[in-house]
Amino acid sequence: MKARHKKLILIGVVVAALGAVAALVLNAFQSNLVFFFSPTQVVNGEAPKERAFRIGGLVEDGSLRREADGVTAHFRITDTAQTIPVTYKGLLPDLFKEGKGVVAEGRMNSSGVFVAEQVLAKHDENYMPPEAASALEQAQKAQKTVVAPK
């Protein structure tokens, strides 16, 4: 084998390997993207039925209720326009509080309850998750545009 042939083989192998890797990465990327939806969008049916997604807003005041096992929690997430009931089995994060911002990741079940696999609250008392903040903002804008034409 000439040196040039070897080089060609080497380049061929590298290109093929890179192609395979790129396919792997992009495929994994595509199937693991988690999209964010506000409660209003979920009520409007924009959220996927089959896939996990994130939902964010405020934990509605007085909505938190625990089952007797102590670790299953039910609460509602609101963007002040719409609310979505959520259930979560596990320990809630330190900064989870009624009236504070929250983001949950999970799926909708058939009875319209969001089953969270993860509840996120950042580690800063005054911090509002950006997703939750934008959900509230959108809901406010939507309400204004409804009110304004009158």
Binding site: A3, K6, I9, L10, V14, A17, L18, V21, L24, V25, A28, F29, N32, L33, V34, F35, F36, R54, R66, A68, D69, G70, V71, K89, G90, L91, L92, D94, L95, E105, K122, H123, D124, E125, Y127, P130, E131, A133, S134
Partner: protein, 641 residues
């Protein structure tokens, strides 16, 4: 008075950095020895003034000077002294100052340990580092001045409780030692481009610096991971969080760089590639620093709250990364590509190693930045979770680790494949058999567990074969050789830890009333209720969990739930019984009715191996630096090259 002193010192340091960045570089280009000679004293003087500024800020924190905004926001009079000191770098401004301070330390180290280097080379290296320092000082003074004053406040709003931990005392400085250390490799790379000279002695000079930075970064990441494990209360050791990814990316490229540098030194190959990696490692360090400390990650909108800061960062990144890549494009052909090698050789193995590491970096970069871009462009909010990174990393890293076993045994230039196969067949066979059988000692057999054990055993076996082969020859002690093998063994140890804890950890979340017991993996936990605790700046509840095994008491764990007085922030302090083959991890959830609590319990097999392995990797790196040949004189280096 003291804060003003710090402020003036920063301004003086800025001017000195400008001198350090311009005169030596110009002097090297025009062959002016007087200008070249400015490099060392300018660098040392600049460091002195940055150190004074750093000391002034630390003093403001220690003396509770609440007229300094930065102190008010990040400290509290009842904060323990050691955390008042570490609060110095707890804020954005302070951490940027720490960055600059450490850059000064590395620069001074270069001026001290470079007596055997040509003067014009030292001048260029120090000059490039001076320019970087100038950028950071300008950023500090124009947008992030840590010494800003305001009317005296009564007291501060306290340091984030997460940062009030011994781990946070050392983690940021060590991590920055790694990040900033890559600036030396970067400066060496630009020096090669500027002078057009890149020979074996260049590689030999930049290797120890790069390896040192990499070792610090390894320790820094390891400490961050361990801290997240015990401090966040979720028991995870890696979350694929953007903050973590920001430190992993320069580490991956840095790993590629130290391997590529080996080829450049030993074989004169991969020259331009090595320079490219050095630029890449430092660029990603800069990106990581800014991603984490500018607040872009917690919200892209923070750019909007301080547009000047965001704009400066973008311009600075564009100048450093764009400028050095432009220089690379113009001058790389002068540096040359280097020697030839066969299709199967140590060079080709290391090339695959580099490709895999860069692909891994690229996939992390994609997963970290893509959501930021979409959000910044207003195209929707998405997140990329751990499943993406896990499904990408296992297939990328597995062949990489397999090669880590093969590489050190492969010859340079050309491998005699039948001979190598003959040497390794027993080791490989034994690893495969053991890897298939060992998981049966656990409750379930899983293919990924076998893969992990196979990779770890494979490294261990090849290390033994390689070391034995060397001992049979007359070759004496080589810190470089044994350091490399120690680091590779560290990889094996970490792989075992990751494999075992990912596949066999047990988690229980439940309600526990006083006197309740629960048994998990043979360990029985009895909840003894909670008592009140009062710390210097927090109050809280301390739970008691008595752990026993087969009826014999083992230990008692005291997880806490605290509320920090100044910030009102609730906080979970976990309690862990560490062990060589398993950790028992406990954390309190919330107070439920009737004195019961929700409690989180973990059994985590082999989890400490993850960090032990990382420490071995770093130790291997530090060991390699001590190699004698890195201290050969200028003359001798030339002859060998």
């Amino acid at each position: 008075m003291i804060p003003e002193l710090g402020h003036f010192s920063l301004i003086l340091a800025l001017l000195l950095a400008l001198v350090q960045g311009i005169l030596p570089l110009a002097g090297a280009a025009r062959n002016n020895p007087a200008w070249i000679a400015v490099a060392k004293p300018a660098a040392r003087a600049q460091f002195l003034f940055v150190a004074i500024a750093f000391g002034a800020l630390a003093w403001s924190f220690l003396s509770n000077d609440f007229s300094v905004i930065n102190v008010t926001r990040n400290s509290h009079s009842r904060l323990p002294e050691v955390y008042r000191f570490t609060a110095t770098w707890g804020s954005h401004e302070g951490s940027m100052l720490l960055w600059t301070f450490i850059l000064g330390m590395w620069t001074v180290a270069v001026t001290l340990f470079s007596r055997h280097l040509p003067d014009d080379m030292v001048a260029r290296v120090v000059g490039v580092m001076g320019l970087v320092s100038f950028g950071f000082l300008l950023f500090l003074l124009s947008t992030s001045n840590p010494f800003l004053r305001m009317p005296m406040a009564m007291d501060g709003s306290d340091l984030n409780p997460l940062l009030q931990d011994p781990g946070m005392v050392v983690h940021p400085p060590i991590l920055y030692m790694g990040y900033v250390g890559f600036s030396v490799a970067f400066a060496f790379a630009l020096t090669a481009l500027l002078s057009g000279k890149l020979d074996a002695s260049w590689a030999r000079w930049s290797r120890p610096w790069t390896t040192a930075a990499w070792s610090f970064l390894t320790i820094g990441i390891m400490m961050g991971s361990w801290w997240a494990y015990y401090e966040l209360g979720w028991g995870g050791w890696w979350f694929w969080d953007p903050v973590e990814n920001a430190s992993l990316m320069p580490w991956l490229v840095g790993t590629a760089l130290i391997h590529s540098l080996a080829v450049t030194e030993k074989r004169g190959s991969f020259k331009a590639w090595t320079v490219f990696l050095a630029i890449g490692a430092f660029s990603l360090s800069l990106l990581g620093t800014f991603l984490v400390r500018s607040g872009v990650l917690s919200s892209v909108h923070s750019f909007a709250t301080d547009p000047a800061r965001g704009l400066f960062i973008l311009i600075f990144l564009a100048v450093v990364i764009g400028g050095s890549l432009l220089l690379f494009a113009l001058r790389a052909s002068q540096v040359g590509l280097g020697g030839r090698f066969a299709l199967v050789s140590r060079e080709s193995f290391l090339m695959v190693n580099n490709i895999l590491l860069l692909t891994a970096t690229g996939s992390v970069l994609l997963g970290t930045l893509y959501p930021l871009f979409l959000d910044a462009l207003g195209l929707g909010k998405i997140s990329v979770g751990p499943p993406y990174f896990n499904s990408v990393f296992v297939p990328l890293v597995s062949p990489l680790i397999f090669l880590a076993g093969l590489g050190p045994l492969a010859r340079w230039k050309q491998v005699n494949v039948p001979e190598l196969a003959h040497r390794l067949k027993w080791g490989f066979g034994a690893s495969v058999v053991a890897a298939l059988l060992l998981p049966f000692t656990q409750e379930t057999w899983q293919p990924l567990v076998s893969l992990g054990i196979l990779l770890a055993l494979w490294i261990a076996v090849t290390v033994v074969i390689s070391v034995r082969a060397r001992m049979r020859t007359a070759a004496g002690w080589s810190a470089n050789f044994y350091g490399m093998h120690l680091a590779h063994l560290g990889v094996a140890v970490t792989v075992i830890g990751v494999t075992m804890v990912s596949s066999y950890q047990t988690e229980r979340n439940m309600r526990m009333a006083v006197g309740d017991t629960v048994t998990m993996q043979g360990y029985t936990f009895r909840f003894g209720g909670v008592t009140d605790v009062t710390g210097p700046n927090y109050t809280g509840a301390r739970g008691m969990l008595e752990v026993s095994r087969n009826g014999k008491p083992l230990t008692t764990l005291y997880p806490e739930k605290r509320v920090y007085v100044a910030s009102g922030m609730p906080f979970t302090e976990s309690a862990i019984d560490y062990g060589f083959t398993r950790d028992l991890y406990t954390a309190l959830g919330e107070r439920l009715d009737g004195g019961a609590w929700s409690v989180r319990l973990f059994h985590k097999p082999f989890v400490v191996w993850i960090w032990i392995g990382s420490v071995l990797m770093a130790l291997g790196g530090f060991m390699a630096i001590t190699d004698r040949r890195y201290r050969t004189s200028r003359k001798k280096g030339r002859v060998q090259a």
